[in-house]
């Protein structure tokens, strides 16, 4: 049987895995709110701003962006590549901005309520896991 420390690590990783999947959309929209970007730039923005905790494949980003474009939350303009073929510079549409604002208001700002911030910062007394 696994000891508590191993179990704790596995559970944390499983939770993070699920959490990250849901986070990718938010990070894509934050990257595009920062300004139009092509896929490699979106990837770099996400990885650098999450301190590499969210690593995403370019294919996943393309797939997500295609869906967001289909529902009119993002669009793209063709732009010059670095000596190579033209790139797609993705941007967030006004409707995408509005949905992002409302999503943040309803789901993210909760974490900044003082009671919740206090709870998140509260550490349990240090009991070593066997």
């Amino acid at each position: 049987m696994k000891n508590k420390k191993e179990l704790s690590e596995q559970l944390l990783e499983a939770w993070e895995e699920t959490h990250k999947k849901g986070q990718l959309t938010l990070w894509i929209f934050l990257a595009l709110r920062d300004g139009p970007k092509y896929v490699s730039e979106i990837k770099a923005f996400i990885e650098s701003n999450t301190s590499q905790t969210i690593i995403c494949e370019e294919q996943s980003l393309y797939r997500a962006l295609r869906k967001f474009q289909q529902v009119e939350m993002t669009g793209y303009n063709p732009g010059k590549g670095d000596g190579g073929p033209d790139r797609k510079y993705y941007f967030i549409t006004p409707m995408g901005e509005d949905i992002l604002d409302r999503f943040i208001e309803r789901n993210i700002k909760l974490f900044f309520i003082p009671e919740i911030t206090t709870l998140m910062n509260r550490k349990q007394p240090n009991k070593p896991l066997s």
Binding site: G22, T25, R66, K67, F68, Q70, V71
Partner: protein, 138 residues
Amino acid sequence: MKILTKQLIIFALLIAVYTLIFRAGLSYCIGHHVWILLGASSLIYSGLIFFTAFFLGKSDAQQNPFFDLGLRFHITSYLIWGAVSFGWFYLGNPHKYEHVEDILQVLIFWGFIIILHTVIFLYTRKDTIRGIRKDEIF
């Protein structure tokens, strides 16, 4: 929404080729009474269609996120099968024991299945936004 995707076009072409070879083989087998070969070719034909639809459908779903419950591939199979079968019957070299009524019967029966598939698609489509399943957008 792009209905005529690259994968669907490749699928249509492959189904046309498979069906033409199958119909030619069918006429040959009937004419030469090689029933085992006829059975085997039917199995190979259905297996090829299944795997072609499986892999191209999967690739299509990855590149084109809209939801159609496989209806485009199904209708394409129906139309191509009908066109090639009639084409073989009237322009090809069918055996005298092959009848156009057989093709019509298959198309009528299959048509009912297409209608049922369409009804299920229309029913499940209410869980989509702009043709993408709600739980797959984000």
